[in-house]
Amino acid sequence: MSNRVILDPTSEKKFTSRELLARPTGLSGQTIGLLDISKARGDIFLNQLESRLTAAGAKVLRFRKPTFTKPAPVDLRHEIATKCTLVIEALAD
């Protein structure tokens, strides 16, 4: 049996690239979303960030995932996208 032709075992997903928005010139007047992923002591870190961002003139909104082990629910992602002008995203651990 010839092995020269195989079937693609991947999802064959096509990724689309999008252009980034222009970078903001400053934080003043921006609404910034901070997403707490519900890991222990994450709130301590986010509290510090919030006070620094607020001092810089930004409005901060806080959001929280039900559990750190699952992706953020669609509704939560939608809420963040509609309420915020900037989101600070970082990887846990």
Partner: protein
Amino acid sequence: MTQIKNPLRDGWTLIVKRECATCVMVVPVIARLVRELPSLTVYTQDDPKFPDGIVSISDADLSASWHADIDTVPTLIFREKGIETKRTVGWLRSEWRDLTGIADLGSELPEFRPGCGSMSVDPDVIDKLRVRFGGAVLHSRQIEFASAEDEFEAMFSRGLTDGLPVVPPTPERVMRMLSGTSRLPQEVVAIAPPDLVELTIEKIAINAVMAGCLPEYLPWVIAAVEAICTDEYNIHGVLATTMPVGPVIVCNGPGTRAIGMNSGVNVLGQGNRANLTIGRAVQLIIRNVGGGRPNEVDRASHGHPGKLSFCFAEDETNSPFTSLAVARGFDASQNTVTVFTGEGPRCVVDQLAREPEALAQTLAACLRTVHHPKLPFAFDALLVVSPEHARVFAQANWNRERVLQEIHARLQMPGSEIVRGAGGMAEGVQEAFKDATLPKFRPGGLLLVHAGGVAGLFSSIIGGWVSGATGSDPVTKLVTA
């Protein structure tokens, strides 16, 4: 790929080959049928001049044989309005006479001769025929290797393997794999994390080929994938966690014996094709279809070797306990997979306990150390009890429920021992719990399976992961053909 149309027409059809002694023997009968049955079409699989002196159609491409589902020659068929209504296989004089209505047909021949194997079911050609005549059901992109490319190396370089060589998933092999299920190739079984893409039976079959599965393993792979892709099991989190865990697949039911799974000696180790390849296929599917790869969404600090494959059968035949599947609400006659999120197994030695209480004490002491002896309630565990340890319980008439109850009773931890700082260890529960008593496992968080070789007063503990809605719940699914 194009589907080749069924060439069979209404009326009589006879399929023969010269290589078959029975076909040669019935040539005088065929000559008579040609005279008396005007609609008769004779197909010849090998020699287009056979039968001598009779006009026949060459079935060298075996399309008529394939579409008529011929496994033996000679086969005589009658079709009306596109539907087959009569068939006889080999030479049985009375049946040929009944079917054709010719009362004295073949008087000069013996009463019975078996036929010969049809060329269309020759193991060397059947896979090619499946692709040629049924391959249109395959929708996956074809990848053609360059002539100088080594196909095994090419699959490594394209990132399609788990670090070990894989079987090239040719269309022939994938079609053969699909014969292991009655489900249609384009049926969507699940949405596969982390890329959240539709996972079809075809993609599962392709990866099952790569893992080295036989077609009869495919329904087990499908059920395991369905189970891990549920919200309760949460394969996304299992994959993404920094902890060293992956799916552990426990198979139950008579089908485990039918496909030759191992539930005995070296049950969690190497050496059994079904155990190893079913588990490996599940991991390959998450890697290749879901897009979950180490150092991408898979962030495990260490991982463990069972993330290549971790699948075994429960020893139900010799067990004094009801099986895991029955304990989870299924019938012993059903085939099921239960997926559990687990780390690598660790051994519990107790060669001295002859009383069930003493053995329960040992098991509890070792289970307490799962992930950390001071952490309660957060992690499940799977306890694999060996036949010799199970015998200690069975001799005292302890059933599954009693064993679990006795272990739980020994795993109630005083808060003072497990608060942060106690025992010189920072890890532990908050000070507020110092006067509480906390269980090591949540209700139902300790799973018991009977498996292993008949010699050895050892059991195995497979520690779990974040349990419940926060992390992962064990999920059991029926295996269906």
